[in-house]
Symmetry: C2
Subunit: 324 residues, 2 copies
């Protein structure tokens, strides 16, 4: 069995070695740029960890695991373009370094490159892995579509929000775990429990992300605090604030949301103050704990010895208590 | 054996029935819009015709054939966005009816939907078909990248142009034919000959397209005549004009290319006149004949009785002598 740091190191090393042997090079430069920007490499590590529950031979899982990382970075590339985000991980985004057309076309090539890696799955598992990946990819597009539609809506419910983050974040972690399980030779039941485990840590992960945007430490988080507040992003916090505020609080919040000209720090501080009054930090933390408990419940049902699960347990508790 | 019209009718009927069962519907509306815009349905028909060379049972080829049509329409969707084209087949393009973000995201979903159909290939052929499709898709992105890069270059050679159209148009027709052959149970040699046949008709098809833009009949062609001339598109004609013109002709051409303000009809007529002087219509037609001859040569090597090939021969000669 391999530990988190060994698996991460393996993934990092494989990403550096990824080759795009088709001309023109200019099509693949943005792909290499995006992949070199770093990131947690969470999805491929989850695939390898999940596979490692069932076998010590991880070779067959490496290429599909990389496919998931390439796919994830493709979604970031196109999402950043659609969101007009200038920075990602403190570096300029592709449409800023190059231009919008390059971001579109190299993104397309990146999605196809992800399929190329998924296509290297051992033939006996190819059909199942490919179908799961494709359905997951469509769900993620659906999640992004909901996310964009929520921008212009003020009546997004908590349930709709949870469904959106399930699609945008949950299903890819779940897919990563299930693909690892399939390739590791897991039973259908174990693979499905790992899938559900992934959904729950995905939800917890995204709720934690919303929380860090308001209550995180700028230096550690790597993004400015309050970004979501400034652009009125429909997060778990804002949706609950709109739902739980009294008439006066709601009018105040509505005012801040509609203001075109304002001092950013003033808006962040006013909205955070309202979140504090409504105890939304506690509400989020309790929802995160709920998802974590459900996740652990699914993991406990996976039919392997407890010592093999330590790695996944550690990783998920680290994700929930992270500050970046 | 089925004729062209039967195969086309089958493809049309299947396209209408395509289902996108994942929410949100708003993600798939642009996909249904694009697929309802019509088009020659050339790629899926080629897949079925090619399959039909080897077997009378075309069922297994239908879903992959549709995958190629969905993929082709995905490339049109994203290309139109990158080219800022307002119209396609006399209808407004997706980024005009909706917006750029919808064109990006629904395009991505469309690419994944194409993979979903390709993924329905019979397991025994899945790996080979998937690999071919993926390499082809990357080549097409490469072709689009070259095409965009050519816009700002004045030194594009005829060889570079031919390579660009091979990637942008040839490889998908070739892929369509080879996938049909594989699923029909063809030998590797026959599948490869059909692939090469496809490359040559793809080249001829694109050269014919360049020619129709200048010498076609607006009413039949469905696009305005001279569009390529107005935007200085590096076509086979313009590249050869730049190469073959004498000093005075070249200066004249260069002037028209650099002019920012001009009467469109005057520019079209002046550049067409230059093409006439340089006999570029004849040059193109001779190049098209060369590709057709090569195509027929490859088709003749395919090891099935001549009567089974009539359909493909007819279709390709119709493509070469088309006026729309």
């Amino acid at each position: 069995m391999e530990g988190f740091h060994e698996l991460l190191a393996r993934v990092q090393q494989e990403i550096v070695c990824l080759q795009f042997p088709f001309p023109p090079k200019s099509l693949y430069d943005p792909i290499e740029y995006v992949l070199s920007m770093g990131g947690k490499r969470l999805r491929p590590v989850l695939t390898l960890m999940s596979c490692n529950l069932f076998t010590d031979d991880l070779e067959d899982a490496i290429r599909p695991a990389l496919g998931l990382e390439v796919f994830h970075n493709f979604t970031l590339l196109h999402d950043d373009l659609m969101d007009k985000a200038d920075k990602r991980r403190n570096k300029s985004t592709v449409h800023k370094v190059w231009n919008a057309n390059t971001a579109i076309l190299s993104g397309d090539a990146m999605l196809i490159a992800a399929y190329r890696l998924i296509g290297e799955t051992k033939p006996e598992f190819l059909k199942e892995v490919l179908d799961l990946f494709t359905v997951t990819a469509l769900q993620i597009c659906g999640g992004q579509q909901y996310d964009m539609e929520f921008e212009s809506r003020m009546d997004v419910s908590v349930d709709e929000y949870m469904e959106m983050i399930r699609l945008k974040t949950g299903v890819l972690l779940a897919c990563a775990l299930k693909i690892g399980a399939i390739i590791g030779g897991a039973s259908a039941k174990d693979a499905e429990n790992l899938y559900q485990f992934g959904i729950q840590i995905g939800l917890a992960f995204q709720l934690q992300d919303d929380l860090l945007d308001v209550y995180g430490d700028t230096a550690i988080f790597g993004k400015s605090i309050g970004g979501d507040i400034l652009c009125n992003k429909k997060t778990f916090l804002l949706i609950n604030a709109l739902k739980r505020s009294n008439e006066q609080q709601r009018e105040n919040l509505q005012n801040w949301i509609e203001k075109k000209i304002f001092d950013p720090n003033e808006k962040i501080s006013a909205v955070t103050h309202l979140y504090d009054e409504l105890c939304l930090r506690e509400l989020s933390e309790s929802k995160i704990r709920e998802c974590c408990n459900q996740a652990m419940n699914y993991l406990s049902r996976v039919d392997v010895t407890t010592d093999r699960k330590v790695c996944l347990e550690d990783l998920s508790s680290r994700l929930m208590n992270r500050n970046s």
